[in-house]
């Protein structure tokens, strides 16, 4: 009976018990990681209780359906998960660097667990939540909307993603995660070779997060189609919104094959199915096919929002219109469509005919055209501008240079002939980190620096921001240039130790780079703390700290809960710049109207918790618990559909008061020249550039 509720979970599965039974270095590292997690959770709980933050946390954040708060929570979740995954990267490199001398730090299976969690977390629980968070915060503001089309669904997506993160975190303490890498190919992840709970943790974490992302994609696409303010034609949307639209469409189509593939793998493992079992009519090659049918569009899901951020950064910090807006829009669309025609390049070496490989290779290389166009459009955006190398701009220019290298190695890998030689090697690892670190991660850091003032009302400390940049930028080069070299010398990914002693200096260099990136992350934490402490000197209540160009900069910082007091007028791509030029950005309104906003709801939290419990129970084959939790999810969904009173009204008087308070802040602020934008004089009012 207890088995129905606890499944196969036993005392021995607790990491601490494992360490107690076999106290070696490997288990000590596992127990230390689990201990850090438990301590972190306990410390957070104590802090919340002592400070009396439970109520505000519940009322203002967890139950909020405000897209801005949901966006901020996504980013916070991503940063927590980043801390773990970057620490894992450090452990892996330290292990590889020392393994040539003796046994290294961790056992081979533990090493495999590390590269599997590192990849899974970085893709699904760092990169995806980071960009989903930024899109959530920025996109509705940029199109002049009050919220996304489906605010409740938005919060449910967040809570499903958080549940996936919780599941991966729990695997630190209870049992083990998969050892099959982030791509989890059978037959290795099949029941015969990996019978334990590991692949099931992977399957259910991915299932939760992919469902969340599918819902997000639908939500954002509908929002962009239906919620644009009057005058905001599709071709007046800021470029970031175009990339959000393309990303959302990719999410809708690309996540389905992944959800399908992981569920089919689960059926193979536990229900006697044979989708991927060769002997019984199944085909493991179809797993690779389905996984990369998701996996390649996923690459562009990760990079397109970054392209959007860079477009905003280059034009804002050059004080100038974006060059080649139409080019950039069409290039973005082209990339989105082409991204569905290239997935085979992840398995050129599976033995299909040369003409199949050649066709997919050429399709892959075609993506180089719109990407190259974008790079030059950004370069020309800075031309005839007044370029200010603030922190986001440092990241952006660093990106331009490193992206060239990533692009060249990408074109190399698009050639089946070259891929046969470097597939599965560290060259490949270096290539995709080259795209994902300067591309996605640095873009999101730039986005955080750019939009932080709009979210919290004060700028981030510039000096510490530079520290983040100057630690992470060389850190990336040091960590991944050696991998290009090792890859071309026959070093393969996922190798726990290299017997060739000549690899050792390269490994130490890579480890040093990983340490620098970790230090950069620490600097980011310090930067946030320092900025909070000095928030009065950094405050920008008038709302426009960078002489912004699009609608999100209209209104105070932090933004109104209802985003805009009235409907902003849009007559240009750079809508806010036009308003400022016409002197209409800070004008009083004649009339104010009541505003309907979504009421807070506990439904998303409950759904997230129950879905997480169901997934956890599925991992441990606790069928009764899983069935109850799953039924609970649907009971809540059905119950919620009977609730009619889901909106609340903000009276016109309250809107008027808030709007006037902001106009008073604007009146009190002195317009600053861009030269002085880092000084305390910058209260968020920009001087008209000459």
């Amino acid at each position: 009976m207890i088995g129905l509720f606890l499944g196969t979970l036993r005392w021995d599965d607790v990491t601490f018990v494992e360490f107690w039974r076999t106290p070696d270095l490997n288990n000590a590292i596992a127990a230390a990681a689990a201990g850090l997690l438990v301590l972190g959770v306990v410390a957070t709980l104590i802090l919340l209780t002592v400070r009396g933050w439970w109520r505000p946390l519940w009322r203002d954040w967890l139950t909020s359906l405000d897209h801005k708060k949901i966006g901020i929570m996504y980013v916070a979740l991503a940063l927590v998960m980043f801390a773990r995954a970057v620490a894992e990267a450090n452990v892996m490199r330290a292990h590889q660097a020392t393994a040539a001398l003796d046994a290294g730090l961790v056992a081979p299976d533990h090493f495999a667990e590390l590269f599997s969690t590192h990849g899974t977390i970085m893709i699904f629980l760092v990169a995806m939540p980071l960009l989903t968070g930024i899109m959530n915060f920025v996109m509705p503001l940029q199109i002049g909307a009050r919220d996304v089309s489906f605010p409740l669904l938005n919060a449910i997506s967040l809570m499903l993603t958080a549940a996936a993160a919780g599941l991966v975190m729990v695997s630190l303490v209870l049992g083990h995660f998969s050892t099959g890498g982030w791509s989890g190919y059978p037959p290795y992840t099949g029941a015969d070779i990996s019978p334990g709970e590991g692949p099931d943790y992977w399957i259910w974490a991915l299932t939760l997060s992919s469902i969340g992302s599918t819902l997000t994609g639908m939500n954002f696409a509908v929002t962009l189609y239906k919620r644009r303010v009057q005058g905001m034609h599709l071709f007046r949307m800021p470029l970031f919104c175009w990339t959000v639209l393309c990303t959302s469409i990719l999410m809708i189509f690309a996540m389905a094959p992944l959800t399908l593939a992981t569920l089919m793998l689960w059926l193979d493992r536990h229900a006697g199915f044979h989708f991927f079992t060769v002997g019984s009519g199944g085909d493991m090659m179809n797993f690779a096919n389905l996984f990369w049918l998701f996996g390649h569009p996923e690459v562009y899901i990760l990079i397109l929002p970054a392209f959007g951020v860079w477009s905003e950064v280059f034009s804002t910090f050059s004080g100038k219109r974006l060059f080649g807006y139409l080019s950039l829009v069409y290039a973005t669309m082209a990339i989105a469509v082409l991204s569905f025609t290239v997935w085979l390049h992840h398995f050129f070496t599976m033995g299909q005919s040369a003409n199949v490989n050649a066709a997919f290779g050429i399709a892959t290389m075609l993506i180089g055209v719109p990407t190259g166009v974008k790079v030059y459009d950004w370069l020309l955006t800075m031309m005839f501008g007044r370029v200010r190398l603030r922190v986001p701009m440092l990241f952006a220019n660093y990106f331009l240079v490193t992206f060239l290298l990533g692009g060249v190695t990408g074109v190399l890998l698009a050639n089946p002939t070259v891929d046969y030689g470097v597939h599965n090697s560290l060259f490949l690892v270096a290539h995709f980190h080259n795209m994902l670190i300067p591309g996605t991660l640095f873009a999101m850091l730039a986005a955080i620096h750019l939009w932080f003032p709009k979210a919290f009302g004060f700028r981030l400390h510039e000096g510490w921001g530079r520290a983040v940049f100057w630690l992470m930028a060389p850190g990336f080069l040091l960590a991944f240039m050696p991998l290009y070299a090792m890859g071309m010398m026959g070093g393969m990914r996922r190798t726990a130790y290299f017997s060739d002693p000549l690899f050792r200096p390269w490994l130490w260099a890579a480890e040093a780079g990983a340490v620098l990136i970790l230090a950069g992350f620490a600097a980011l934490v310090v930067q946030i703390v320092v900025s909070v402490r000095r928030r009065d000197a950094l405050a920008v209540p008038a709302g426009d700290p960078w002489d912004g160009r699009s609608l999100e900069w209209l209104g105070p910082a932090p933004a109104f809960e209802f985003n805009f007091a009235g409907e902003p007028k849009v007559e240009d791509v750079d809508a806010f710049t036009a308003l400022k030029a016409q002197g209409e950005a800070y004008r009083r309104q004649e009339t104010y109207e009541d505003i309907e906003m979504p009421r807070n709801s506990a439904v998303p939290v409950v759904i997230g918790a129950l879905a997480g419990l169901a997934a956890f129970a599925m991992v441990w084959q606790a069928w009764a618990t899983a069935a109850l939790a799953f039924a609970g999810v649907w009971a809540v969904v059905i119950g919620r559909s009977f609730v009619r009173d889901t909106e609340r009204t903000i009276p016109a008087a309250e809107v008027e008061a808030a709007h006037r308070a902001w106009l008073a802040d604007v009146a009190a602020a002195t317009p600053v020249h861009r030269r002085d934008e880092l000084t305390p004089e910058n209260r968020g009012l920009a001087e008209e550039p000459l």
């Binding site: 002049g144 909307a145 009050r146 189609y225 239906k226 919620r227 644009r228 303010v229 009057q230 005058g231 905001m232 469409i249 189509f253 094959p257 085909d283 090659m285 179809n286 096919n289 389905l290 049918l293 469509v337 569905f340 025609t341 997935w343 085979l344 599976m350 033995g351 299909q352 005919s353 199949v356 409907e567």
Partner: protein, 110 residues
């Protein structure tokens, strides 16, 4: 928020008419589903014939979903909706076509 992207016109036709449409849709799709299972379960069709019959029923099923549940038909289709459907068809064709090509090629070689 703006006038040019208002809700689908089906919102205007009145609740009774809309309910009738949903009921018709439910009956049609259920009938199609039962027909598919029935034909195969009874052994009335098999092999290549079954494949053709099932594919046909599936396509009619998709059309019924569009017509009755998603309120998309040729006459008053919104341009955005039509574009999105064509785009979806393109992406599905790419994914399915590519998969079939790859897997059949691999099948003949190993």
């Amino acid at each position: 928020m703006s006038d040019d992207h208002d809700l689908p016109r089906s919102e205007d036709v009145g609740e009774a008419a809309e309910r009738r449409q949903y009921i018709r849709g439910a009956v049609a799709t259920l009938a199609l589903t039962l027909a598919a299972f029935g034909l195969v379960g009874s052994g009335y069709v098999s092999g290549g014939t079954a494949l053709v019959v099932l594919c046909t029923l599936a396509i009619v099923q998709i059309a019924a979903h569009f017509r009755f549940f998603l309120h998309i038909d040729l006459a008053r289709s919104h341009r955005d909706d039509l574009q999105l459907i064509l785009f979806t068809a393109l992406i599905v064709a790419l994914m399915v076509g590519g998969t079939v090509w790859i897997l059949f090629d691999q099948h003949t070689r190993m």
